[in-house]
């Protein structure tokens, strides 16, 4: 069984379109994340949700909007796609334990987004 899954795996679209990427985890984790990995393989956090509440929101354009319908899902919606949005987007999850979070994060397989 896949622990953290993302759909689609590949997404090719035109500039200006709106698209969504879905993420689901079956690990029972409380916290989920979205990362962007650029062409130089640099992973940068975009958002973090804990029990459906936004707790980290890095400097990301307003065109990116995360949505968490429940704690097992965190979707990423992108409006008015631009060429610079082309990257691999990774979803991840981690378990929060009491006062100290278990910060080992489990990553999904990634979604390669290409904007033409």
């Amino acid at each position: 069984d896949t622990a953290v899954s993302q759909t689609p795996k590949y997404l090719v679209t035109q500039m200006g379109n709106d698209k969504s990427i879905k993420c689901e985890q079956n690990l029972g984790h409380d916290t989920m994340y979205w990362y962007k990995q650029d062409s130089k393989k640099f992973l940068k956090i975009m958002f973090s949700y804990n029990n459906k509440e936004l707790i980290i929101n890095e400097t990301v354009p307003n065109r990116f909007s995360p949505k968490s319908p429940d704690k097992a899902h965190l979707n990423l919606h992108i409006n008015s796609l631009e060429l610079g949005d082309s990257a691999v987007y990774f979803c991840a999850s981690s378990l929060v334990l009491g006062q100290g979070p278990n910060i080992e994060q489990f990553f999904g397989p990634g979604t390669r987004l290409t904007v033409l």
């Binding site: 992973l43 981690s94 929060v96 990553f107």
Partner: protein
């Protein structure tokens, strides 16, 4: 600004060699340092280090953290072609935030 710097950025060695990958950091509210291996797809977890001077080992891989000098090393002995990957260092700061380094691309030639 939080910074995690890995070196070298790229390393090519022969099978059987031993390699050492470096990670230095400047991060506020440090909680722990993590190493990940990324092959074709998602990063997979290797180690989490929270205490200085205590080596963590898993087979041919080992890692140690120096919180005074703000760095960590990842050693791989008797390398195999299957060790070829990007190795990512990340530092956890505050509540659940990971700051990643740029990665070291390791290539093991037969």
């Amino acid at each position: 600004e939080d910074k995690v710097v890995q070196s070298p950025l790229s390393l090519v060695v022969h099978e059987g060699d031993t390699v050492t990958l470096n990670c230095s950091y400047e991060v506020t509210n440090f909680r722990s340092l993590l190493w990940y291996k990324q092959e074709k797809k998602a990063p997979t977890f290797l180690f989490m280090l929270t205490s200085s001077g205590i080596e963590k080992k898993s087979g041919r891989l080992s890692s140690i953290l120096d919180k005074k000098e703000l760095f960590s090393i990842l050693n791989i002995t008797a390398t195999q072609t299957g060790d070829s990957a990007i190795y990512l260092c990340a530092v956890a700061r505050g509540a659940q935030k990971l700051v990643f380094g740029q990665g070291t691309r390791l290539t093991i030639n037969p």
